[in-house]
Every structure is written in C-alpha cells, then in structure tokens.
Amino acid sequence: MNKIYKITLAFSLIALTACVPNWKPVEPAAYVKQDGFSILLPEGWLKLENPNNNSVVASTDGPNLQSFVVIQKELKDSFKTTKVEVDANILSYELMEYFIAEFKANSGDVVVEVESKEAAEVSGQDGFRVVFTYKNQKGLRFKQIVYGCNNASKLYTLTYHAPVLYYFDKNVAEFENSTKTFQIL
C-alpha cells in the first residue's frame, strides 16, 4: 500500500517535471537481474525502467490498478518506524511479525487487517507469506500479498497489490507463478 502511494507520488512528480516514466514490455523468458537477485516477470507485463538496482516494479494496467514490486533492503534499514533491531539469525516467524508491525505502523490512519499469514519458501529460504487488506476512504477494498525472507543481512520482499474489485483476481496467479522464479544471487 505504501509503495503504491510512493509510486503514485513519483508519477506525479515526474508529470510535473514533464518527464515520461519509462515502461518497457517484459521480454519473454528473460530474467530481470538486479544486484543480488533475479526474477522472471509475467510475460506481457510492463516493467518500469529503474536506475535503482535494489528493486523491480511491474504492472499491466498501471500501478494504481495492480503492481508487482520486488525490493531488496538492508535488514537494519527495514524497521525504522518500529525501531526494531534484528540480526541475520532472526526466525522467519519473527521477521514476519516485525514486517507486519512496520507495515501497520506506517499505514497512518488506514486500518490494515491481516487476512492470512503462513510459512513460505522464498528462493529456498525460510520465509513468510502475508495477505493484507484495507479500505480507502471511498470504501474501495485493496488486497496485498507479501512474500518475504532474509538472507544474511538483507531483507527481500515480493509484493502484489491491487483493488479487490476485478484487478486482484485478474493477475494474482501470474504473480504467484513469478514468485517461484525469484532467486537470491
């Protein structure tokens, strides 16, 4: 959810400065490689050309309608609001608890509910899968799936976010398939 706002904001700023965001079609069967991870994005989607080598942003209908975001972050920089200090030996369950807390702490006045949480393997690592839901002030419900794990001092998250109305179901299977191709390098 927060990332969506950031993306929206980024778009607005880009629009204000008369620049055009550079979206390119995902090439068939071509892994997107960044510093530290790679992933095979769904074919037919658009990928935002991003100078930042720690993240990947993709969408098919525009980031307000559905987004697929992969982020690699230092663990020590991942829980700034809750001010939790974690080390590389953290249990996957605890990592999920801290992730949820940070997410909720950053959601302002929006009431975020956790629909489900479970263990998940992410690039062969012990990880988690959490489903968040929330409603905006117009009553539109959004859903967000987050896969997460850590590898040494890095936190990896793969997020799919979309309005429940039509768009969430439309592309969720592609997201789920794509997460299976994620590899920490």
């Binding site: 927060n2 929206t8 809750t82 702490a105 009431v111 949480k117 009553g139």
Partner: protein, 395 residues
Amino acid sequence: MNAPFQSWAKLITCTFIFLYALLAGCTSNVTSYTAGSLIEPESDGENRLWSLSEKFDEGLVKSDSLYQDEELEAYLKSIIDKLFPEFEGSMQVRILKAPVLNAMALPNGSIYVNSGLLAVIENEAQLATILAHEGEHFVQKHGAKRREYVIQAAGWGMVSGVLLAGAGIPAELATLGAISSISGYSREAEAEADNLGYLRLKRAGYDVYEAPKVFRYMIREVEAEEIKQPYFFASHPKLERRVENFENLNKEAETAVKQERGEKQYLDKLSSLRKIALKSKLERGQYKALIALLTAEGAEESYGETGAFLLGEAYRLRGKEGDQELARASLLAAQEAGLNSAEMYKSIGLNEYKSGNNNEAMSAFSRYLDVADKADRERSFISMYMEKLKREQDE
C-alpha cells in the same frame, strides 16, 4: 516505508502552523455557541467546514475505521451529554480503531476518541476529561476560528492542493484531520479547551484529580517510545505544562472531597475494547509503550491475564538483553492465571526456541497445535520449527 497520510498531513500542518504564526495578530469574527444557540453553521466558511467534516465522517465509515458498538457509543454519548447538558444531542462520540493516544473534535460536533487512548485510561472521570476538552473545541468553534486564519493566508490552498494531489488525499480532509486532533489547535485554543473542560468536569461531579493523569499517560508513552513530542506540540502547550495546569486548577478549586471516578462502569463497558486496543498496539510494534503501560502500578489488576500475555509478547518482540527471561515470566503468569490460548502456547514456544530450550519449545509447540484452529495457516510455521527440532534431536 513512510506513512503517506501522516507525512503529508505533517508537512501541511507545519506549513499551516507557520502561516498561522504569521497571522497570529488577527482577530476572529466567529462567535462560540452558547446555551440556546442554534447548532448549525453560521457563515459560508462554517458551512464549508461542516461539509468537510461530514465527508471526513463518511470516509471513516467507508474505510472501516470505526468500532461500531451501539452500546458503547450510547455510553460515550451519555457522558458528553452529562458534561454539556445545554447542548444535549449536538455532539456524537465515536471510537476510531487507532492505537495512538489521541482524540479529535470536528466543527460539526463529531468527536473521535482513539481506541488506544481508551485502552490506557482507567475510569470515567479520565474519559470525561477528554470528552470535556474535545466538546469545548466544538462549542468554542475552534475549527472555524482557525479556518479564518487559514483563508487569509495567501497561497495556502494552492500549495496544499498541489502537494496532496500527489498523495491521492484531498488536501482539506488531511488538514482537517491533522488540526482537529487532541493538540492540533492553537496554543490558546488548547488552553481554553483544557480550562473550560475542567469546569465542566467539576460541574458534572467528576473527580477532577483524575484529569492530569490523562496527560501523564501520554508523557509515559512518549518517553517509552523515545519519540519527540508530536510535531504540533512545538507550538502548543507541552504535555508537562498541561499536567501542571490541571494541578494548579485543582489547587485553586479547593475540591477537598474527591468525587465520581466511575472506575467500575468504565471497565465494565470497555474491558473488551481495551484488550483489543492493547493487542493492536502490539501489532503496530509499540513494544516499549506496551511494556511501560503494563508494568505501571495497578496494571496487573486492571488488565488481568490478557495484560500478562501481551506483556510477555512485548518483551519477546522487543528482544533486548534479558527480555527472554522477562517474557518467560510474564507468559507463565498468564498461563497460571488461566489463559489457555493457542497464541500463548505459540509465544511460549517461540521464546523457548529462541532461548535454545528445545524440550520446552517442543512441548509448547505441541500444545499450540492441539489448541489452534486446524485451518489456521500459522500452523505451518510451528510444524516447520518442530520438524527442525526433531531433526536436531535425531542428529
């Protein structure tokens, strides 16, 4: 990850405060409500504020941000009507699902109290302190008086509109929320609401010695979380000053006989909500605030076994040196007090697993799997940790 609403509201409110400071010499033409006044907007400007307030109200309902409990709302209404008998029915009190210690009054008479604040206060007199304060913001039309300053500030609307459009938040709604909170009005308005609210508390027969405690709880939370006092306190009475103010009012009031505190009825009505709100503080990572609250005098009695469990969880998750032992003691206390939930066994198991006490971890995890709902997907974590423990034992 930053909270977009909070960041923008903060930015805008800071701008607002700056512009407000420039216009501090201006006088207001807005007149407060008095007994017998028609409770309605009296100018186009006020009309606009009422309309915004109604949109704000609707947004909170649509976003499921409110605790919908008719009995509880009737209880809150009975208190506000007792405090403001001449305005009976003009104000509506609702509970926001928000763990931060806050309350706010909108210009249309909607008053919101955060569940987090209801979780830490201990009796009806303290709740009445908050409602009297917020009710005075409405009666004195502090929102409309403040708006007068804003509309005189050239460029304000343009600046806020452009910035907030990027965040997808209507500028006026964000500003309305930020300036209507418990310390979002001007220094003078906050002081006036404190002082007039105090008189109402006294007239309604509440124990006025409970009033400063509300602000002490806020100080405790601010200190525990090691945060600076919220940004708007920079230009408003500091929390310490407000405690002092109430204590001075108590000295002047010569109220030797302590009056109604209403502890029992408050706890009877709010006990369930208080537990939910404490849990939401845990889920938002407010471990330090929770520990400060649940280790305070009287907390054990006030929050019972749920308090002991949440204290154990807060220690486990805070993760400082010695916290595993403190978590163990609190979780065992919850168990001895009769708590027998899946959550508690999971917590005991995780704490022991982290501590390297594998037998104890296995035992607690087994109990968790016995008690937990078979459809609960969290079982996957516990099953995985049990398998790892078994493998370690086999090796």
